[in-house]
């Protein structure tokens, strides 16, 4: 199972539509970094609207991919985190403080525009 990564101008867009297992998450991490390198994207939006569960492992993978992309020079914004997922993550003790987020894809793109000054 591979998660599709779409290119839109200088950005990469990802909408996670499948139940994330560990292997898919790790594979996605690698795929995204390679795509950033290949396309020279400056911004990435990962939309999580359809994701019903984020456990500590998936949270770590997502947090790591934000830091890794940052190291490469691309800004990542996570969007569309569901109310139930947000509540569960905080109760689990995962705050993801250094991870930029936005309500939905549209807001995510606006945030990228602002942060990248484009």
């Amino acid at each position: 199972m591979r998660i599709p990564i779409l290119k839109l101008h200088n950005y990469l867009l990802i909408s996670i539509q499948t139940e994330l297992d560990d292997q898919t998450a790790i594979q996605f991490q690698e795929d995204l970094l390679k795509q950033i390198h290949r396309t020279e994207a400056t911004g990435v939006v990962i939309d999580l609207t359809s994701v019903e569960v984020i456990d500590s492992f998936i949270a770590k993978v997502l947090g790591d991919v934000v830091s890794m992309s940052d190291l490469m020079g691309a800004k990542v914004v996570l969007t569309g985190i569901q109310p139930a997922v947000a509540m569960t993550l905080i109760e689990l003790g995962i705050h993801m403080r250094n991870v930029p987020t936005a309500l939905d894809l549209e807001q995510g793109l606006i945030k990228l525009h602002q942060e990248l000054g484009e």
Partner: protein, 133 residues
């Protein structure tokens, strides 16, 4: 009334299988969306612990019904190395696997009742219940 269904945890994909079955049962029992997410996440943490630390084990679901309330119990059992210091693994941020260390203390917060017994060299058994509100 008491009914039980189990998923054996041997490979990584079994973690997904366990949480899918758990979510289905939670939905049927009448848990709301947020509680479904709590239960599913708790299952995921428990199943991953089995896979990561014991290699294999079992996750079982039981529907518990008393006169006053209805709930769902998750029983996670393995015959792995066991846990030497139970209070240590219940501390937020403690991990031996490079994870976030949110697993067990997180599960206790997500669920209502939480009970853990472990014997070094013999395995671990965690029983945790969520009640329908």
């Amino acid at each position: 009334m008491n009914s039980q269904s189990c998923v054996s945890i041997q490979k990584e994909w079994d973690i997904v299988a366990a949480r899918q079955m758990g979510r289905e049962i939670a939905k049927q029992l009448g848990f709301g969306t947020v509680d479904q997410a709590r239960i599913t996440t708790a299952i995921s943490e428990l199943a991953r612990n089995i896979y990561l630390y014991a290699g294999e084990g079992q996750i079982c679901f039981e529907i518990v019904e008393t006169l006053e309330q209805k709930g769902m119990t998750i029983v996670a059992t393995d015959s792995g190395p066991g846990i030497e210091d139970l209070s240590l693994v219940m501390q937020d941020g403690y991990t031996t696997s490079g994870g976030l260390g949110a697993g067990l203390p997180g599960v206790r917060r997500l669920m209502d009742d939480f009970d853990m017994e472990s014997e070094v060299g013999h395995g671990t058994r965690i029983v945790t219940t969520k009640w329908v509100r």
